[in-house]
Amino acid sequence: MIKSKFTTVEAIMLVLTIFLTPSILSMPKNLIDTTRSSILINIVYVTIIAIFIAILIYRLLKNFPSYDIIDISEYLGGKCFKSIIGTIFILYFLISSSILLRNFCECLKMVYYPMTSVVFIILAFIIATCLSSKLEFSTAVKVNVIVLPLLVISVLFIFFANIKNFSFENVFPILGEGVYNTFIIGLGNLGAFLGIIILYFLPPYLKKPEDMKKIAITTTIIAGIYILFCVSIILFMFRFLLNVDEVMPLYYTTRYIEFGDFFQRLESFFLFIWILVLTSFVTINIKLSMDIFKKLTNAKNISPMVYSFGLIIFAIAIFPKDYAVSKFIESTLYSYWTFGISFALGIGILIFANLKKRKNAHLPKQKEVLEANE
């Protein structure tokens, strides 16, 4: 039984955290890599597709009011299937947090803590998230409502502060690598909307479940606009980034912000905000994993599990040997794998569950007809 209930605004912020946090790392660069200068067209195209997917998910979830995907998978395949699906999603949340955490900590180490082992930087994050995960889920969501707008403001600030360095001609050639790359291969950029996975878990948490459609569409549109801003900053400022790999593209752009002689090198403030956002992201992932775990095991008190999940994230985060391996995992493996979970698995379960429900709804009617004929 889920205790915490969120308002519509809190739910929107919760979904947006999962959407927007990967943008502080190499997500914008990965998006640009496939389509080059046609990225803006591609993002608009992919956002429209994502909106349709969000509406589809809402429609499929509508037939199971206040059920999340774990409950639906139990309805579909029984307790065994529920356990499998629950485990997959727990692993997804933990691994996605670990990979992002590792890459961010590598960047922090490179910039500010060159002599410190990355293990200790990750450990600092884990301790902070474990401490905040011991509190209620609603606390984490309320903190997120305070912290996430800072991320959006920071990106908007980067955009407008760097506008004097923009070359708007970088949008040409308009079709980038060609129509095929922009619209077919560019579909891979749907990976920017992998945060849609959180919509599967949202219904039981909502105070007003009738707002689910509004939440789904609003979050997808805001995420699309935000990602458009992120890629625009990089495309308009650094065409050379198409040829050069950069650790944190948005961080790189913050190094160019200056106002006169006094305000220069403001990137530390942005890293400060992004540390808060990432901590919020990991906390929310841990809380979601704990709630799924509670559903799977029917445990009474799962608060000690915080430390176990924290340890798992820590272990996965320190697993890659170096930054190259973790970057590879983030840009390649993680994107394809989570594509499968977010879209294929999630929508597949919902479709089959809906089909089963429709079949079960017809069965009593058939029974009545048969009895009437007798």
Binding site: V9, S132, A140, S268, L276
Partner: protein
């Protein structure tokens, strides 16, 4: 929240809060109390709204300064000196040239001295009490700089932090900030902005978790929380229509939409 002022207690009572008065105690307890209540003064409602909102902004800034300024100073000088303009960096370097202690020792020494002076000022007999506080701080600071024990910039940081803590109306709120800032100094020293950001996150989480008689302590902190009458921004007197919505009062509206009917008649 506790208060000795009858006008403050009455204002909150009329706003819909619950007051507890105990025979023998000079304090009245007001509940529930949210974060912004501790940054408000009873005189605010009697001033022009622009003045009181300005003062509230100053107090919020004072709260941030009291909590974070020493920690940020330690973090920036230890890990993030590229943030400082070059001339300011050289001023700090110049002022620290002859100082034998590291920044953390300096700052802890001065902060603790300031707290000692403050506490001593309370117990000294009243004719010379306030003077001791002011003169002691000035003389101690100047003597420490002349002796080369601390840098002048640090005295400014400690002084601004101290003045910030005096600007907070509620004593217990100011006190908690004074204690918590030592934690942020330590975090800033250990890990710079990373330490302070993580500390701030945990601190905010615990603040948000806190409830005052069922009401979230940080209600209305985010502009996205649509809370009426939340006290963060004081509207003009003719616009103060609603009581705080989180109090679930019997009469949520305290004045009609157009309260100055005499103006239109």
């Amino acid at each position: 929240m506790s208060t000795e002022r009858p006008d403050k207690a009455v204002t909150y009572l009329l706003a819909g809060r619950v007051i507890v008065i105990v025979n023998g105690s000079p304090y009245a307890l007001i509940m529930p109390a949210i974060l912004i209540d501790y940054l408000g003064s009873p005189d605010d409602k009697n001033l022009k709204p622009s003045f009181s909102n300005f003062l509230k902004g100053i107090r919020v800034l004072a709260a941030f300064i009291t909590l974070l300024l020493p920690g940020l100073y330690v973090a920036i000088t230890s890990f993030h000196e590229e943030l400082l303009p070059t001339e300011l960096l050289f001023s700090i370097l110049a002022s620290r040239e002859n100082v034998p202690f590291p920044i953390i020792v300096e700052i802890l020494m001065m902060e603790i001295s300031f707290e000692l002076i403050r506490e001593a000022g309370l117990r000294v007999p009243s004719p010379i009490g306030p003077t001791i506080g002011i003169v002691g701080a000035l003389v101690l600071g100047q003597a420490a700089v002349s002796a080369g024990i601390v840098s002048p910039i640090l005295i400014i940081i400690v002084a601004i932090t101290g003045i910030g803590s005096f600007a907070i109306p509620d004593f217990s709120f100011g006190f908690h900030l004074r204690i918590t800032r030592f934690l942020f100094i330590l975090l800033g020293y250990i890990a710079g902005f990373l330490g302070i950001a993580l500390g701030l996150f945990i601190y905010t989480s615990y603040l948000v978790e806190t409830k005052s008689f069922g009401v979230s302590y940080t209600l209305g902190l985010s502009p996205l929380d649509n809370v009426k009458g939340n006290n963060y921004y004081l509207p003009p007197i003719w616009k103060r229509e609603f009581r705080a919505s989180f109090l679930n009062t019997k009469k949520p509206k305290k004045q009609s939409k157009i309260s100055m009917m005499w103006k239109y008649k």
